[in-house]
Subunit: 412 residues, 2 copies
């Protein structure tokens, strides 16, 4: 069964709103194991709506449209569906009753143009809308299903859940189930990761494995098909074990996990506290650690020591060190991490110092050069990195890297 | 000129990510007066990619694709573009040099599979990617333009701004000029703002005025059409003057201005320095102030005093104050702002303390209650706010508000 989503509305083509409807529907269809092969967006234009819907009918078995069911003149989805399917547009007493009842319940007067919403393609099933005025439409023709829902997310979602998804489940679903899991990695680039698992990627079949890079991390999406959800999960579990063996150290989490949440859970489990001394990241490490609810349990303080004065006063960095090797150096990173740990009396101290750019770089210390340090117990480890990109990217990658270094340390 | 966007990636069809790329591109095209008639989304599937791109070429003059340019086996946009346009896929020394130089700058080893990214359709113009490994492609055939960009939003946006939009402007835009300007406001909600300018909104014609609310700010997009850019600009200038008279105090900037950049410019102009004491914002105020290049000229230090201990040690907040009124209080905010200003010896001290939630609220001090203070010269001003929403939103609105309070103070 092939599905297609068509979202309708000129505001989508002007970029005035983000189309979150199609993402939501896509997720629901995936949960039900319905293959979505196409998404299309068009404006409130009759000709292009007809073209796109006709095209969809040639290649897909299920078409879900959103938008264009309102009472105004540019809401023409009803007309277009009728025309493409060669059906009459007729007044439906049932739809009229629903529109009227909505206004009565809302205690609002109904305008004449709401009457348009009671005209539907002949033989269409009416999809009740409990949240708004526009009834939805469901038509079956030549074994293909065309569903039209309003564009208001709240209304669309309720109608999908209450009517459309149960209908599709009843009518179409065979025993095949799709189950998907995202593995999140950090500390390795997309191509190096792919090289490490090249044979696994080459032999992939079921589950499929798709790498996906975003800022500071690479995800692997595993998707399995089987007759039961349990069997699909088992396929994923087996593949995941193989991947764990190869790239386990880079895997920080799954699905909706964030790196800061994973680090927070580790700190919580081990009952450890942390303090942060930031220079080039300017507060971003503290910001991310405190995005996790309950962070006051493990986050004691952060110091954004942008000036040398602040490094000396708040972190006990030695004046002589600053003079001898400069603020952007391994030694200063170490002194910052130790300093914040000792002053805050925490178990762990983190530090970042670097040149975020775009200016301030030299041949010896170029833009993107960053030193980090991690002080834990009586030990202090330090690291040198060279990141590429603009100021924000250097800050982000530095924060991502130090959080990942902390994660690895906590796992040992 | 008819444009079409094709976003590529199975993750989009599984609903795992929201397609924000196409909205961003749509907005930019609208700004340039380029008509976008279709958007399509397909997975990493050769057959359907060929079908969709071929279809697009029949009806549109400009096609922009995103995604599928990475180094891995399922990244096949290069192959598909070559096949649809009937071009050879050839190795480009220029593209190879760019990929290599990216890895060199990042001081990372390049894997063999990155070589795939150097193969481009014969005659394609290479679009430089300064943020990642995947070069973009621009091909002109039969007066139609096909642009392929990576799916990573940061990379795609930079390449659009640096290369594609200037190219389109140069090549295609005719005499009717659309000129658009965004007015950015802060410190007032969307409906209050609309009420203040209700008559102006009602009478809008050319330029049109579109309000657009986003987190912590409301924008007004003014769009004028005229025969020359100069005339369009003049129409905007006239309308802007009217708006300035009504809502001037809320306007913090225009177009790509950020609140932190505007504040940075004011600090720079007045030769003033600032230090920040953060509790509930966890480092976000420091992070934002240091996102501006050159921020070390005015940002001396930040202190994220999450614990009471840190508030006393690093900011000289009195133990008795903490005991009497609690950490989330007007008095503590004042002492934090004064403390950080005095210790850092800066002209200005900022402070935030509040309950970001989701837990930790009481009847007397609910989640979302935030106190802020601003110490300047011998004066300290404090403010109480109650924000709605989740943890991240409370943090963001607090940072936005204190930056805006600083902006207003600097203007006086």
């Amino acid at each position: 069964m092939k599905a297609e989503i068509i979202t309708i509305g000129t505001e989508l083509l002007l970029g005035q709103i983000v189309d979150t409807n199609s993402q939501w529907i896509a997720k629901e269809l995936a949960r039900y194991g319905i293959n979505l092969y196409y998404k299309a967006t068009i404006g409130d234009n009759k000709e292009r709506m007809i073209e796109t819907l006709s095209n969809g009918l040639k290649r897909s078995d299920l078409i879900i449209t959103t938008g264009g069911l309102g009472p105004t003149q540019d809401d023409i989805t009803r007309e277009v569906v009728a025309e493409v399917l060669d059906l009459e547009l007729v007044k439906s007493q049932e739809a009229l009753a629903q529109v009227k009842s909505y206004f009565k319940q809302a205690d609002r007067p109904m305008s004449d143009n709401n009457l348009r919403q009671a005209y539907l393609p002949q033989g269409a099933k009416i999809i009740k809308n409990n949240q708004g005025t526009a009834p939805g439409i469901l038509v079956v023709q030549d074994n293909k299903v065309i569903v039209s829902l309003p564009g208001v997310p709240l209304e669309m979602k309720a109608m999908m859940k209450e009517s459309i998804l149960p209908y599709l489940k009843e009518k179409f679903l065979d025993d095949e189930r799709i189950y998907s899991k995202v593995i999140k990695t950090c500390g390795i680039g997309e191509s190096s990761l792919e090289t490490k698992i090249a044979d696994i990627l080459r032999e992939q079949e079921n589950p499929t494995i798709a790498p996906l890079a975003s800022q500071g991390e690479v995800k692997l999406r595993l998707t399995a098909k089987a007759n039961t959800k349990q069997a699909a999960k088992e396929l994923i579990r087996h593949e995941e074990q193989k991947l764990q063996g190869r790239i386990g150290e880079y895997i920080y989490g799954y699905d909706d996990d964030t790196l800061e949440k994973v680090v927070a859970d580790l700190l919580w489990d081990k009952d450890l506290t942390v303090a942060v001394a930031e220079s080039c990241t300017g507060g971003l490490v503290g910001h991310r650690l405190t995005n996790v609810p309950g962070s006051s349990a493990y986050f004691e303080r952060g110091v954004v020591s942008y000036s040398n004065q602040a490094k000396q006063e708040l972190l006990n960095v030695k004046k002589t060190t600053l003079q001898e090797v400069g603020a952007v150096s391994q030694k200063v990173a170490q002194e910052m991490a130790l300093g914040v740990k000792n002053l805050a009396k925490t178990d762990i101290g983190l530090a970042t110092t670097g040149i975020a750019g775009p200016s301030g770089g030299t041949e010896e210390k170029p833009v993107g050069l960053v030193y980090m340090a991690l002080a834990i117990n009586d030990d202090v480890k330090s690291y040198q990195f060279k990141f590429n990109g603009g100021r924000y990217r250097v800050k982000y990658l530095t924060a991502q890297t130090i959080l990942n270094l902390l994660r690895l340390e906590l796992l040992n």
